[in-house]
Symmetry: C2
Subunit: 207 residues, 2 copies
């Protein structure tokens, strides 16, 4: 069902682990035939953000209609705003041999996994749990309750790691990015991504 020419690469992990920084650095490597998926969202553009580059900015009723029409690979409502991955845009790229990176939370990743068994699921792990904890605690001016909620949620996210193919520890951005590059190279060598025509081969070989 998901035998596309490109690979679907899901980069996920707990909130605060550095997914965005890693994906940004990965895209800057300008790997051949690898692109970052652009999410749709109902939140307002921030200064400098461009429609169809950073996000597809949608009105809520449009977004909801897209949900209704099953046009998302995954979507979620986060702090009052919807975020989602438009399905057709991803499939078009995969069909054209372009591998697509989705940077999504663990809830979204598991939605994607249902339809993309051959996706490459990478979990970004903090080098040590206390570092993640401190990042979450020091992130903003949140209440103790909010922080506790975030910690609980990050804990839940981390325990989902066993649903992923790979764990990349984010102890150093460059190292983490290089590991992901290796994973993409290795995955492109996987036997189940090849289709070898032995009929032709036999003719050629016994010629």
């Amino acid at each position: 069902m998901d035998d596309y020419k490109g690979m679907l690469i899901v980069i996920s992990g707990p909130s605060g682990v550095g997914k965005s920084t890693i994906c940004k650095a990965l895209i800057e490597k300008e790997l051949r035939n690898v692109e970052l998926s652009i999410s749709a969202t109902t939140r307002r553009p921030r200064v400098g953000e461009v429609d169809s580059v950073n996000y597809y900015f949608k009105d809520e009723h449009v977004f909801k209609e897209m949900i209704y029409q099953n046009e998302f690979l995954e979507y979620a409502k986060v702090y009052g705003n919807y975020y989602g991955t438009p399905k057709q845009k991803v499939i078009d790229k995969l069909d054209n041999g372009i591998s697509v990176i989705l940077e999504i939370d663990t809830y979204g990743a598991m939605q994607v996994k249902k339809n993309f068994k051959k996706g490459v699921f990478i979990f970004i792990m903090p080098p040590c749990f206390n570092i993640l904890k401190n990042r979450i605690i020091n992130r903003g001016t949140e209440s103790k309750d909010d922080i506790r909620k975030r910690l609980k949620s990050a804990f839940k996210e981390i325990t989902e790691v066993s649903n992923y193919d790979y764990i990349v520890i984010n102890d150093d951005i460059d190292k983490a990015v290089n590991k992901i590059v290796c994973i993409l190279n290795a995955e492109s060598c996987r036997t189940d991504r090849y289709q070898i025509d032995f009929t032709e081969f036999k003719e050629e070989f016994y010629d």
Copy 2:
């Protein structure tokens, strides 16, 4: 059963594809905690070959006793000489966190696979079947019958590729070696090679 700290890496492929050249180049990279397995053989040392470095040179009766004692991961008789991978030496290394590369034929690879489900099985593929054919034909001063036998055997070997995890096309030694390095890096990130203790994690996180 095969939950060792090191990885068992099997590099195989049809005769004439360039396995040895690739493995030599791979070892020259001096990857941390990666070693090439040394085979035992009953064939005579060639000039410059050193016992326990190039091979473990064994008398035939010793080799046969080792077979009888089940001391080989795999073995085969090739053109009158025995070749085999001593099991305990490999396991000792894996236990110590050293990954071991076996450069073996496809028959040996399938013997290994029975006991090492978690082994990393890499198949080296010729860039084009005619190149392999020409290499086999031009290899020595063999009779037409011998050549036909070798071609048939290479054909059989190639059709076994589906039993492998990865296909690395040997169109360029450096590229092929780099792909294998990536495969090893990627495999070391695989979730099923990690053991995460969530008990400790929980305590640390909710502290």
